[in-house]
């Protein structure tokens, strides 16, 4: 199944509002209806399903397939093959594209209740080691919240924060740092 998702960030906007404490009934304004392109939804009430049965356009995820079958996580064409989420310095905020990716992982977990995920939080080497343990924990926690929002079970997810202890790249510059400020989704 090839899919389309929205080309702007309406879904994300709604997610952000929900997460930040707005009530689900508090719909964004009239722009909401224009969110999906070829998708089956178009109202604030159904934005949570944008992407299903469509095809992504104008997004970094364009062309990727979506399915939530058991072995979909091993398919390099599937959006679930994206298992690393990157962050800005001293931030646990998730970018819009990555919210989309995490949404699919959340649905996968919801539909495969025997699947378990290990969420590993990491930081770059700057700043203190213990602060970085806390920061990486928050990165993993913010992903976990999105997964739960899609119906994943809390018991399916284990968080481990490594802080700066397990860098992916070993350099001492932004080229290395940007690869190290990450969270990894590891299916067990």
């Amino acid at each position: 199944m090839k899919i389309i998702t929205m080309k702007n960030g309406i879904f994300l906007l709604v997610m952000a509002l929900l997460i930040s404490g707005c009530t689900p009934g508090a719909k964004p304004d009239s722009e909401t209806g224009t969110g999906a392109e070829g998708g089956e939804s178009g109202t604030g009430a159904t934005v949570g399903t944008i992407g299903e049965g469509g095809a992504l356009a104008g997004s970094a995820l364009e062309g990727m397939t979506i399915s939530y079958e058991k072995n979909a996580i091993n398919d390099p064409e599937n959006v679930l093959s994206i298992k690393t989420i990157y962050f800005a310095f001293d931030s646990s905020e998730i970018s819009e594209d990555d919210v989309e990716v995490i949404k699919h992982h959340g649905k996968y977990l919801a539909l495969n209740s025997d699947a378990t995920l290990r969420l590993e939080g990491h930081t770059d080497e700057r700043g203190t080691r213990e602060y970085n343990i806390a920061l990486a924990d928050r990165r993993a926690q913010s992903i976990k919240k999105l997964l739960l929002f899609q119906g994943a079970g809390s018991s399916q997810i284990t968080i481990i924060s490594y802080g700066e202890e397990k860098p992916e790249a070993l350099g001492h510059d932004e080229d290395a740092w940007k690869l190290n400020r990450r969270a990894e989704l590891v299916y067990e």
Binding site: D90, E125, R126, G127, T128, R129, E130, Y131, I133, A134, L135, D137, R138, Q141, T158, I159, I160, S161, Y162, G163, E165, K166, H172
Partner: protein
């Protein structure tokens, strides 16, 4: 010696032989008190390893930043007995103090170490001691001599006859080691080897145990490890992070950071009953607790203002945490001096991280180091120096800076990376 014990010692030695920390004094001796340490007289058979007591004392005193020992080749004379000392000569040379001594072999592996400290201007002995030692205790005896001289001349307790702990990593795949060594880097011993990260070692106040974080089970947990018996106790292994252990001054409780309730916050655990008390409850990151010596408050790092800054939290919770640092966008990882007057911490600005101190009364802040990635400051027990982790030529090394910032030194491993130093209050 029992053959098996001998083999065991050989095995230990070969295991750690490559891991000795090499110390280089990198900056600043001006302002230090000149002292002449005459090579100690040796009375015995062939010279033993570690029998150079005067050499060890000399390098201890130089490392403190408070003394500048006269280089051995520049010594004007080498008196062996008190009556041989010609005080006027040393006075003219501007030497304030002079040390003589001897090491005498009294039986097989039995030594008598004697030293005398003289005030050159008054022309009199101010200190003199005799110790019994074996070849295994010659180095610690030398550090005791250093402590006595330091204390006599500065009024501050010496901190040489103690231990440091640190974490090393080397190899591929990486192997992490928790090691303890003498304060000059000698006699390194490995307490723990793991394929998973080991972090944040910190000495119990009596110097007999280490608390640290280990990921050996795949998840983080805080352990307490008795360095003599090797016994370990798992203190905390809650869901989420178990990190930043900090012993209370009486050694009975430990502050730590847990995220079991959803967010990194500071808790105190009783080491005996294991009862847990939550101290902070904030949406921001709260971590890196450090006890004030009176046990009435904790210094900690919090991002509640948006960026990490240091705060002080009164343990009776009579008031809200008080913010202590305002300069710069990143101030974290506090270590408090034993008198509670100075806080050392990591100060980040313009993408570089340096060690700074904050004088608690006056709120004056001073940046002490010029590294780009300096971290993990830990005060020496007498508050005169700060041990920290740094980078040198792309490699992780330990370094020390005097609290006034004048003197710096580097402690590097010949092989591998070394970080997260902790200086024991005493040798136990």
């Amino acid at each position: 010696m029992n053959r098996w014990i001998f083999l065991f010692l050989v095995a230990c030695f070969s295991q750690t032989a490559n891991a000795v920390l090499k110390i280089d004094i990198t900056e600043g001796i001006e302002g230090a008190t000149p002292i002449a340490i005459i090579p100690f007289q040796w009375n015995g058979s062939s010279r033993l390893k570690d029998s150079d007591i005067s050499g060890i004392v000399s390098s201890d005193l130089a490392r403190s930043g408070k003394f500048s020992p006269v280089a051995e080749k520049e010594l004007l004379a080498r008196p062996q007995r008190p009556e041989d000392i010609h005080f006027k000569t040393w006075r003219v040379a501007g030497v304030d103090h002079l040390v003589i001594g001897s090491v005498q072999m009294t039986a097989n592996d039995r030594f008598k170490v004697e030293f005398r400290l003289f005030n050159v201007y008054r022309g009199e002995q101010v200190l003199g001691y005799t110790f019994n030692a074996t070849s295994a205790t010659l180095r610690t005896t030398a550090h005791q001599v250093s402590d006595l001289i330091f204390e006599k001349l500065t009024g501050l307790p010496g901190a040489f006859n103690s231990r440091i702990a640190y974490v090393t990593s080397s190899g591929k795949p990486v192997e992490y080691r928790l090691q303890v060594a003498d304060t000059d880097g000698y006699n390194p011993q490995t307490l723990l080897t793991s394929k998973e990260p080991v972090m944040s070692p910190v000495w119990s106040p009596d110097g007999s145990r280490l608390a640290y974080v280990s990921f050996e089970s795949g998840l983080s947990a805080i352990f307490v490890h008795d360095i003599h018996t090797g016994e370990r106790e798992k203190i905390a292994s809650f869901k989420g992070i178990n990190s930043a252990p900090a012993w209370s001054p009486d050694g009975k409780t430990m502050a730590m950071t847990l995220s079991k309730d959803g967010n990194p916050d500071i808790y105190i655990i009783s080491l005996q009953s294991k009862s847990l008390r939550r101290l902070t409850k904030h949406w921001a990151i709260d971590t890196e607790p450090a006890w004030m010596p009176d046990s009435k408050s904790l210094i900690f790092t919090s991002s509640r203002s948006g960026k990490p800054q240091l705060y002080e939290l009164s343990l009776d919770k009579s008031s809200r945490p008080k913010r202590l640092t305002f300069e710069g966008k990143y101030n974290a990882s506090a270590s408090v001096s034993a008198d509670g007057k100075v806080i050392a911490f990591v100060h980040g600005a313009n993408n570089s991280y340096k060690i700074a101190v904050l004088y608690k009364d006056t709120r004056v802040m001073q940046v002490l180091t010029d590294g780009v990635l300096d971290e993990s400051p830990d005060f020496s027990p007498n508050g005169t120096m700060i041990l920290y982790a740094s980078q040198h030529r792309g490699k992780a090394v330990l370094a020390a800076v005097s609290t006034d910032g004048r003197q710096k030194q580097r402690l590097a491993l010949s092989d591998g990376e070394v970080r997260e130093p902790s200086w024991a209050a005493k040798r136990n």
